[in-house]
């Protein structure tokens, strides 16, 4: 973009928004980039935009003053970690020169290049949208926001995490914990099974007469072989004393309806009633609501994008990253969101500077903690494929932890998993 175009866009954007905020050009005031969502994707996009071009005017808008990471929230649910240790805020990000607004984006006019926060209208040259997911209320009959206060999803960390933990603590020994897992795609594919593991670990030590039943809408799941191996080693999986039972869709596991008043779920072809002492419903999800409000989602509720730049296929100068976007082989995971945010920042800076963007590089590394001193992981390196606009894993690289790994290696992975958490949260909030 040259200076004339720059003036034009900014002036147009300002006029449309009814604002008079022509930047002070003589000082070389930078173009405006707004980032919606201060999570795994949004914090990184904002920070790396500033790192790559400090003259940009970057604003991060986040609904909540505190962010609770979903990553490691299963450790909170299992009782091995305090919720304070997964709580972060945006104070240190301000030191990078990022304007942080705590508020909710309620809509916008993408033709006019404006978005709305409360009663304010803000204009942008480039917009990054990283709103994560929202639950599809009603997709499982009877499961709405009110029901989630009784049967928590805990699929967004914070009060929901604390509620599920509290229910587990209050549950009498002998109670059954139900976890319902959705069909693909959803946030954190190994997440429900990590959760089942850490709940089982809690039961093993505190409520040994209890058990976890996972009711699944699928017949397979991420790192299944490794989870089942760990469950056998740690939780008696496959025996009649097993602390974990997994029911696949083919084995009457698919839940079609819930009844919050009875703490019951209805599963399988006949809709058999199963009552739990604690019921954790992980419902189907879609891109965060704001993505739909801005017209960025497709019929399935996710955001199609250019896989090299993460620019929306449905709106110019708007980029979508993280769980909300469609990124082919990349799972809806924090490390993936982190990696996408950095590629997206590079694309935006290149475009604003009128340069060719460098070839993108993407990685995902995701640990699951399944017991004390027991970690497993999945990792992948991806390349951009221009011929079909896809993100494809590099053949021969990546994959999951070795099936026959030693106890020592499982312990190492647990410690690397903790390091992963410390370093990725510093990348986001430091």
């Amino acid at each position: 973009m040259n200076r004339r175009e720059f003036l034009k866009t900014t002036a147009l954007g300002s006029m449309a928004a009814g604002l008079i905020s022509i930047p002070y050009i003589a000082k070389g005031a930078g173009q405006k980039v707004i980032v919606i969502g201060g999570g795994a994707g949004g914090t990184i996009a904002a920070k790396y935009l500033k790192k790559m071009d400090n003259s940009l005017d970057v604003t991060l808008i986040e609904r909540n003053a505190d962010y609770f990471t979903c990553f490691m929230s299963n450790e909170v649910i299992g009782g091995d970690r305090k919720i304070e240790s997964i709580k972060f805020n945006y104070e240190r990000l301000k030191k990078h020169g990022i304007n942080v607004i705590i508020g909710e984006v309620t809509g916008g006019d993408l033709n006019a290049k404006t978005i709305k926060v409360g009663d304010k209208s803000l204009n942008y040259d480039k917009l990054v949208v990283s709103p994560g997911v929202d639950m599809k209320w009603g997709a499982v009959e009877g499961y709405d926001e009110a029901a989630s206060e009784k049967m928590p999803h805990a699929w967004k960390a914070g009060p929901q995490t604390a509620l599920l933990r509290k229910q587990l603590e209050a549950m009498p020994d002998g109670g059954v914990v139900l976890i319902t897992a959705p069909a693909n795609p959803f946030r954190c594919p190994p997440g429900p099974y990590e959760r089942a593991s850490l709940v089982a670990q809690y039961l093993k030590h505190h409520k040994p007469k209890s058990k976890v039943i996972v009711l699944d809408a699928k017949d397979d799941f991420a790192k299944k072989g490794l989870f089942e191996q760990a469950w056998k080693e740690l939780y008696g999986y496959g025996t009649d004393k097993s602390l974990i039972e997994w029911r696949s869709a083919a084995n009457q596991g698919k839940v079609s309806r819930v009844d919050a008043a009875k703490n019951a779920v209805y599963a399988g072809e006949m809709g058999d009633e199963i009552v739990g002492a604690v019921v954790n419903v992980i419902p189907p999800q879609s891109a965060g609501k704001i993505a739909t409000a801005l017209g960025l989602t497709n019929d399935a509720g996710w955001c199609p994008v250019n896989r090299k730049t993460f620019e929306s296929s449905q709106a110019k100068d708007v980029h979508v990253i993280g769980d909300a976007c469609m990124a082919d082989a990349m799972p809806k995971a924090a490390y993936a969101a982190n990696s996408q945010a950095k590629v997206c920042a590079a694309a935006i800076v290149a475009a604003l500077q009128g340069k060719e963007m460098v070839a993108p590089a993407y990685v995902n590394t995701c640990y699951s903690i399944v017991g004390h001193d027991y970690g497993i992981s999945v990792a992948a390196v991806y390349n951009y494929k221009a011929d079909d606009n896809s993100i494809a894993p590099v053949q021969g690289a990546g994959g999951v932890s070795a099936k026959d790994a030693s106890a020592e290696d499982r312990k190492r992975e647990m410690l690397y998993g903790l390091s992963w958490f410390n370093n990725i949260t510093e990348d986001m909030f430091g």
């Binding site: 040259n2 200076r3 720059f6 070389g28 930078g30 790396y48 790192k51 790559m52 071009d53 400090n54 003259s55 490390y335 982190n338 990696s339 950095k342 590629v343 590079a346 800076v349 604003l352 500077q353 009128g354 340069k355 460098v358 070839a359 993108p360 590089a361 993407y362 990685v363 590394t365 992981s377 990792a379 992948a380 390196v381 991806y382 590099v394 021969g396 690289a397 990546g398 994959g399 932890s401 790994a405 020592e408 290696d409 190492r412 992975e413 410690l415 690397y416 903790l418 390091s419 992963w420 410390n422 370093n423 990725i424 510093e426 990348d427 430091g430």
Partner: protein
């Protein structure tokens, strides 16, 4: 708007400019009594946009600029280009045991690895205080002087000829490496194998733990 265009390049280079070139200046062959011929260290170039793009995929796990907050994932900032390159290639070819690095390293070409190495050598190794056992540190210090110092120069603060920076590295990582060397899962130079075996013979397996504590405890170069 000239400022806009230059800033990215300035950013990419500043790490290099602020790191004195001495750390990776070429070195004359030195004829020490081991008659080991020291290689000329690869010199760093300005970090390219692609180098930055690749390095950005590493720092989510390895920490800002490659300096890890631990407890186990190692800090890789300040690592000499040749050390980094050799490590990545060993991972890629399955010659070095790992949990996740072997799987990831297979995703990169020689050029990618060169770009990453060139980024991390320009980054400062930032140390974080960690808990170590004073008795082990003390014993480890003597073991270091007697057995390791010749290659792990300056108390392990210097990465020379593939020695890696050990001072202030994360303790669990150092312990993993010592265990892997001892179990012959990780290859080591012949000279190191000789010294390590002699050290263990004279001081027992506990000596491995002691040197690990010593290096982990090293926070301040001047105080060594």
């Amino acid at each position: 708007m000239k400022h806009l265009r230059t800033s990215a390049l300035a950013m990419a280079c500043c790490g290099l400019l602020f790191n004195a070139p001495s750390a990776f200046a070429s070195k004359d062959d030195d004829k020490d009594d081991d008659k080991k011929k020291k290689k000329t260290a690869t010199a760093a170039k300005p970090v390219s946009p692609r180098g930055l793009m690749l390095a950005n995929t590493c720092v989510g796990c390895h920490g800002q600029g490659g300096s890890s907050l631990g407890p186990a994932t190692p800090t890789i900032s300040g690592m000499a280009i040749d050390t980094f390159t050799d490590a990545m290639k060993a991972y890629r070819e399955g010659k070095r045991p790992s949990t996740v690095m072997g799987r990831l390293a297979k995703g990169y070409t020689d050029e990618d690895i060169a770009e990453m190495a060139n980024y991390f050598v320009t980054q400062k190794f930032v140390r974080v205080a960690q808990k170590t056992d004073p008795a082990k540190v003390k014993a480890g210090k003597k073991l270091h002087k007697d057995n390791c110092e010749k290659c792990h120069e300056e108390g392990g603060f210097k990465d020379e000829d593939g020695s890696s920076i050990l001072a202030g590295q994360w303790l669990p990582y150092l312990q993993f490496q010592m265990a892997d060397f001892n179990a012959k899962k990780r290859e080591m130079p012949e000279k190191m194998a000789k010294r390590l075996n002699a050290m263990i013979k004279d001081n027992g397996d506990k000596s491995l733990e002691e040197v690990a504590h010593f290096y982990a405890s090293q926070q301040d170069k001047k105080a060594k």
